[in-house]
Amino acid sequence: MSKILDLDVIGIDSSYSTNMKPAENIISRMDKRQHPFSHYYPYLVVSDNVKTLDGKTDLFLIDPFQRKDAIKRKIKRGVGIEVSIAFSKKLDASLVGKWLKEVKSIYEFCKSNNCQFVLSSGATSVNELVSARSFESLLKLIGISPINYWNEISEWLYTKNKARWVHAKS
């Protein structure tokens, strides 16, 4: 499926990835509990609650409309801040405009705080997945250079996985 969407890597929720074979193009998204397959799968610890945000969290799923004061206080360098497109599907046009404005401000927040901005489909089924070309159109509309975005996210994922393997070997 990743080839069809023109994506190198796809993040899959840990509850779906239990019955899948480990593959290079899959990153498991999991909560703080240690899953048995975390030893041979690349994974990211994902949280959507500010209260549970700590040093172990790799990725924080943010609602663009929520207040960002608490996040500003708790977020650490190198953490990914994820915005899901799925949320915007249900919004009417004026709210979509507001959503895009908020996404842009989150991107700027990430830049100034050394965090990684992550735009995701938020898909719960194959039909909800978003292709790389669609991501790029959306990024362009927000005012983000797609080339920079892909380079930064690749580097961030590489750093995350590298740190994890070094830790596992020692």
């Binding site: 499926m1 069809i4 969407l5 497109i85 915007s88 599907k89 249900k90 919004l91 009417d92 046009a93 979509v96 489909s121 898909a123 089924s125 194959v126 039909n127 909800e128 997945l129 978003v130 292709s131 070309r133 669609s134 991501f135 159109s137 959306l138 362009k140 509309l141």
Partner: protein, 111 residues
Amino acid sequence: MLNHREKRRYLAIMYDDNTILLPFQLHEKIAERFKELFGAINCELAMLKLYDSKFGNILFVGCNLKYLDYLLVSLSMTQPSFTVVSLSGTIKRLRKNVSSLDIRNIKSIAK
């Protein structure tokens, strides 16, 4: 007067198998969202057109190249959800691309 033809792009769009909507109704939904987000004038200039895909839950939609980004954004922000599985400059090439994809396998994953 120059005989200038606007460049077009054709998209293969996968939709949910269980939807009760017909392809032309889905196309209307896409155009409606496009209009909502980018306006009626841009929607008309994009010249969105539905084509018969001859594949199960796949729509073929054509649009002017200039407005491709707008269409892709509209597709990713429309309910019901759509996934762009292929994009080409000609319908013939698009059909070839889609038939080379393992659609049956994708459908089984979707279920």
